[in-house]
C-alpha cells in the first residue's frame, strides 16, 4: 500500500487511527468526574500534540538518522511562525499560503545555518547550531522588535492591511485564521452521556498534515537517502571511501528537518496567530531533543510519543493545584487527605518541572531506547507470559534479528 511494505503500512494505519480518533482517545473520562482533569482532548492541546509531533518527526530525520544533534531547531520553528503571522498580517487569513511561506523561509534559513554548522561535527556542530539559535532568539527579543514584536510576540492587529482579505470583521474583530472560509477555531462538540468530545477544524487540518508528514518520513526512512543518512551516523569514513559525499546528504537532512520545523511553526501560528520569541530559545530546542530521545531516537513513532508525553505534562500536570488534590482525596479521612496532598503537592501544579525531570532520569536510565523500547519490552513481557501459560515449549531458536529500522 502506498509503496510501503506490510509492517510499515500497519504503522501508518495505526498513526492515522490515533490521529483521527484522538478526540475520543484523549477524553476517556466523563467530563464532570474528578478524573476529567486528565482529559487532554480539547482543541488547543490536541493541536499541540500533533504540531510538536511534526516538529519531532522532522528533528528525528536529522538526529535519529544521521546522529547530528542540533540544539538550534527551535529557531526554524520560530522563523516559520513569524513568516506565517506576517502572511496573516499582509496577505490573508487563509492558512495555506502562510504555511507554505513558513516552510520556504525556514528552509532557506536552514540552508544557511546548516551549511555553516555542518562544517563541524559532534559537539562542535551542536554548539554552532545552539549559537545560531540563541543569536536569533536574543535579537528577536530585542533589536528585531520591529519584525518580531519582541517580548509580546508578533500578533495581529485591527489595522493590518491583509491585501486579499478583510482587515477587520463586521463586528469589529480580527478575522480568524481559516482554510477557504473554514475557520480553524470552529469546533463541533459531541455530547455522549456524561462524555463530551471536541472535533476542531484546526486540529483535523494539523492531524492530516501530521499524517502526511509522518508518511513522508516513513518513505524517507526506507529510501536510499534514509539509508545513506544512517550510514553517515554509522561510519562516515567508510561512506567517504565508498565514493559517497556525506556533506550533501547531511545538509539535505538538515534542511528537511528545518522545513518540518518551519511547518510546525507555521501550523502553530495558524492555530493561534501569535508568535512569541520564546519559541526560539535554547530550552525550546532542548525540548524537541528531549521529545525525540524520550520517545526513542531513530524510531519512527517514538518522536510523536515523546512530543505527546512532554506536552501532556506541561498542560495537564501544571494545572493540578492543591484545590484539585483536595477534591480528589476528599473521600479520605481528613488527616490522611492532608498528608496525601502534602506529599503530592511538590510534584504537581508548579512542581510539574520536578516530576518531568525525575521522569527523564528514570526513562533514560532504564529505557535507553525511550518509550518505544518500553513498549517493546512490555509487549515482549506479555508475549512471554502467554507463552509460559501454554505448555508447548518453543522449539524454534530465534536468532537475534537486527531491526531493519526499529518501529
Amino acid at each position: 500500500m502506498l509503496g510501503l511494505d506490510k509492517k510499515d503500512a500497519t504503522i501508518l494505519l495505526v498513526v492515522i487511527a490515533l490521529a483521527l480518533l484522538a478526540p475520543f482517545l484523549l477524553n476517556p473520562f466523563p467530563s464532570n468526574s474528578g478524573l476529567a482533569q486528565f482529559n487532554a482532548g480539547y482543541p488547543d492541546l490536541m493541536q499541540r500534540f500533533v504540531i510538536f509531533g511534526i516538529f519531532a518527526i522532522g528533528f528525528n530525520i536529522l538526529f535519529g538518522l544521521t546522529g547530528y544533534l542540533s540544539f538550534g531547531h527551535a529557531a526554524f520553528l520560530g522563523v516559520g511562525s513569524y513568516s506565517a503571522v506576517w502572511m496573516f498580517k499582509l496577505l490573508s487569513m487563509n492558512v495555506l499560503p502562510a504555511i507554505l511561506l513558513s516552510i520556504v523561509i525556514a528552509g532557506l534559513f536552514s540552508v544557511l545555518i546548516g551549511y555553516v554548522s555542518l562544517r563541524r561535527s559532534g559537539i562542535y556542530f551542536s554548539i554552532l547550531t545552539l549559537a545560531f539559535a540563541q543569536m536569533s532568539f536574543n535579537l528577536a527579543y530585542s533589536v528585531l522588535t520591529p519584525i518580531t514584536n519582541g517580548e509580546t510576540g508578533l500578533q495581529l492587529t485591527l489595522d493590518d492591511p491583509r491585501v486579499l482579505g478583510q482587515t477587520a470583521t463586521a463586528s469589529g474583530n480580527i478575522p480568524a485564521t481559516n482554510v477557504f472560509g473554514l475557520e480553524m477555531r470552529s469546533t463541533y462538540t459531541m455530547d455522549v452521556g456524561a462524555w463530551s468530545f471536541d472535533f476542531n477544524a484546526g486540529y483535523y487540518l494539523c492531524a492530516i498534515i501530521m499524517i502526511l508528514a509522518f508518511y513522508l518520513s516513513l518513505r524517507i526512512f526506507r529510501s536510499p537517502f534514509g539509508l545513506m543518512l544512517r550510514a553517515v551516523k554509522s561510519n562516515q569514513q567508510r561512506l567517504n571511501y565508498t565514493g559517497l559525499n556525506p556533506k550533501p546528504y547531511t545538509l539535505a537532512a538538515f534542511i528537511i528537518s528545518g522545513m518540518y520545523a518551519g511547518l510546525a511553526g507555521g501550523l502553530l501560528a495558524s492555530m493561534d496567530p501569535l508568535a512569541g520569541a520564546e519559541r526560539m530559545q535554547w530550552t525550546a530546542s532542548g525540548e524537541v531533543v528531549l521529545m525525540t530521545i524520550l520517545g526513542g531516537a531513530g524510531t519512527l513513532i517514538g518522536p510523536v510519543l515523546g512530543a505527546g508525553f512532554i506536552k501532556y505534562f506541561e498542560n495537564i500536570f501544571s494545572k493540578i493545584n492543591d484545590n484539585v488534590l483536595h477534591q480528589w482525596f476528599s473521600f479520605l479521612p481528613e488527616g490522611m487527605e492532608d498528608t496525601l496532598v502534602f506529599l503530592l503537592h511538590p510534584f504537581v501544579g508548579k512542581g510539574w518541572h520536578l516530576t518531568l525531570g525525575i521522569l527523564f532520569m528514570l526513562v533514560v536510565t532504564f529505557l535507553p531506547g525511550g518509550l518505544v523500547e518500553g513498549g517493546q519490552r512490555l509487549s515482549r513481557l506479555f508475549r512471554r507470559r502467554s507463552r509460559d501459560t501454554d505448555t508447548t515449549p518453543d522449539p524454534e531458536h530465534h536468532p537475534k534479528e537486527s531491526p531493519h529500522v526499529a518501529e
Partner: protein, 463 residues
C-alpha cells in the same frame, strides 16, 4: 458546523446533559448553541487564574494565587469578607457571583507569551473559564489579552506595567487595574526633583524589550520636564545576569543619577551590582550619586536585600497604607497566610472583585454586558477636567477613589512613591511610602503619544 463553541462543561453540569441522555433517538448531540463563550450553568461559575508558577516570577505568581484564593473565598461568603465590606459598590453579598458558587482553575504562564496563551486556551476550552486573570509581565498580559478578545472572554490583567497594555495593544475585553509606566514617571519625577534637585544628570540602564523601553521613555520624559538632563540610555540584554560592564562606566559619564529601568531578576542584579560598585558612596558634580528604580515590588526588594535602602521608586499599592480597604485586605490576607500581601496580590484580588461586581451590576455574565458595566456610566473622577474622564468610579479597594476609564480600560488612581526603608523592622517591612501622588498628577489623555496607535475594537462575546 457551529462556530467556536469552545464551551460545554458549564452547561453539562446543569440539566442539559441529562436531557441529552434521555432523548433516545439522538444519542449524539452537538453542544447547544449558546449566547456567548462558556456561559456558566446555574450552580457555579469558573474563573481562570493564569499566573507564573515556574520560572523567575514564580514567587510573585504564588502570591497572586493566594490573593485569588482569598477573593474566591470572600465572594463565596467564606472568611472575613475582606474588601467586600469596604468596597463602595455593595452589590456583592457573599453568595458567589449572581448566585453561582465561584470555582476556579489555575494555569502556569511560565512568563512566556506562548505558554501563557496555551494555558489560557486550555482554561477556556477545557475548563470553561469565563474570565481569565493574572500574569506578571506585560508581554504575557498583552498576549493573553489578545487571546481573550478573540475567544470572547473577559481578561482582567494582573501585574503588567507597560504602557502598551492599555495603549497600543488595548482590547475591548481586557482591563487593567495596575498602574503603568507613564504613571510611574509622572509620580516619581516630582519627588525626585524635590529630593535631588532640578539640576541632575541621569544615566539610564534599560532592559532591552518592550516594557523596558516604555518605562525608560516615560521616566525620561517626566524627569526632563522637570529640568533633568539625560546623559545616556544603555540597553541591556534581558538575559544579562551581571551588569558590571554596564555600570562601571556610569561614574565617569558625568551623570549623577542612575535610573535602572529593570524588573524582576534584572533589577535585583543591576541594583546589587550598582551598590557593589559603591556608586551611592560617590560624589559627582558636587552632589551625592543616587540610584532610582522606577518600578518597585516587595519581592524584588527582598531579593536585593540591603541594597534597596534609601532608593526611590514607585509602586501600585503597599500593605502599610492606612485606608480602610487596604487594612481590611491586609488583615484577611495576613491572617490566612501569615505575611502581608504584595502589590501583585492586591491588584489580582481587586480585579477579581471588580469583575464579580461588574457581572452582578450587569446581571449577566455576557462579556459585552460586563464590559459595559466596567466602563461604567458617566461617573468621573473629581477634579479632572477632561472629556475622557468617564468610566466606572469606585472606592474602598485601596488607592482611594479609582476610575476604570471607559476610553482605554485603564484604572486611574493615586500612585505611591516609595523608598527602601533604612531600618526595616521585619522581613516584609522593606519599603516605606514617601508620597501618595494624587491621581490628577498622573492623569493622561487616551491619545497621549505614548499610548496612541491602539484601538479597543468591539467587545467580543465569542460564540
Amino acid at each position: 458546523m457551529s462556530k467556536f463553541t469552545v464551551t460545554r462543561r458549564g452547561a453539562l453540569k446543569t440539566g442539559a446533559a441529562a436531557g441529552a441522555g434521555l432523548a433516545l433517538p439522538t444519542i449524539f448531540t452537538a453542544g447547544a448553541a449558546r449566547a456567548f463563550t462558556n456561559e456558566p450553568g446555574a450552580s457555579s461559575v469558573t474563573l481562570g487564574f493564569n499566573v507564573p508558577q515556574t520560572g523567575p516570577y514564580a514567587d510573585e505568581g504564588a502570591d497572586e494565587l493566594r490573593a485569588y484564593q482569598l477573593a474566591v473565598e470572600h465572594l463565596n461568603g467564606e472568611g472575613d469578607g475582606g474588601m467586600l465590606q469596604t468596597f463602595s459598590s455593595k452589590v456583592l453579598d457573599g453568595t458567589g457571583i449572581l448566585g453561582r458558587k465561584v470555582e476556579y482553575v489555575t494555569g502556569d504562564t511560565q512568563t512566556k507569551s506562548d505558554a501563557a496563551r496555551a494555558s489560557a486556551k486550555s482554561m477556556i476550552e477545557k475548563d470553561g473559564a469565563i474570565m481569565i486573570t493574572g500574569g506578571s509581565s506585560s508581554g504575557v498580559a498583552v498576549a493573553v489579552q489578545g487571546l481573550c478578545q478573540e475567544a470572547g472572554v473577559i481578561f482582567m490583567a494582573g501585574l503588567t506595567h507597560s504602557n502598551d497594555t492599555t495603549g497600543k495593544d488595548k482590547k475591548a475585553n481586557g482591563f487593567r487595574h495596575f498602574f503603568d509606566a507613564y504613571m510611574s514617571g509622572a509620580a516619581l519625577a516630582p519627588v525626585l526633583a524635590k529630593m535631588y534637585g532640578n539640576d541632575r544628570k541621569a544615566y539610564h540602564l534599560t532592559a532591552d524589550y518592550t516594557w523596558g523601553w516604555t518605562q525608560q521613555e516615560s521616566i525620561q520624559a517626566a524627569t526632563e520636564a522637570l529640568g533633568w538632563e539625560t546623559v545616556n540610555n544603555v540597553l541591556t540584554p534581558l538575559a544579562a545576569t551581571d551588569f558590571s560592564s554596564y555600570i562601571a562606566p556610569v561614574l565617569n559619564s558625568g551623570a549623577d543619577v542612575l535610573i535602572l529601568n529593570h524588573y524582576g531578576g534584572n533589577m535585583v542584579n543591576s541594583l546589587t551590582n550598582a551598590v557593589q560598585f559603591g556608586l551611592r558612596d560617590k560624589q559627582v558634580n558636587g552632589k551625592n550619586f543616587e540610584i532610582v528604580v522606577p518600578l518597585y515590588s516587595r519581592l524584588m526588594a527582598k531579593g536585593a536585600g540591603e541594597n534597596v535602602k534609601g532608593i526611590f521608586g514607585s509602586t501600585n499599592w503597599h500593605w502599610s497604607l492606612q485606608d480602610e480597604g487596604s487594612q481590611a485586605f491586609v488583615k484577611s490576607f495576613g491572617t490566612k497566610y501569615g505575611f502581608p500581601p504584595s502589590q501583585a496580590a492586591h491588584t489580582c484580588y481587586v480585579q477579581t472583585l471588580l469583575y464579580a461586581d461588574a457581572v452582578t451590576r450587569a446581571n449577566s455574565f455576557e462579556p459585552c454586558a460586563v464590559v459595559e458595566a466596567l466602563e461604567g456610566g458617566d461617573s468621573s473622577l473629581p477634579g479632572i477636567d477632561s472629556p475622557s474622564n468617564k468610566g466606572y468610579l469606585f472606592d474602598g479597594l485601596g488607592n482611594g477613589p479609582t476610575l476604570y476609564r471607559a476610553a482605554d480600560h485603564q484604572c486611574f488612581k493615586d500612585v505611591l512613591v516609595v523608598k527602601g526603608k533604612d531600618n526595616p523592622t521585619s522581613e516584609f517591612d522593606l519599603l516605606e511610602v514617601v508620597e501618595v501622588t494624587p491621581v490628577d498628577q498622573v492623569w493622561y489623555e487616551p491619545d497621549h503619544p505614548m499610548f496612541a496607535g491602539g484601538d479597543l475594537g468591539q467587545c467580543n462575546n465569542g460564540a
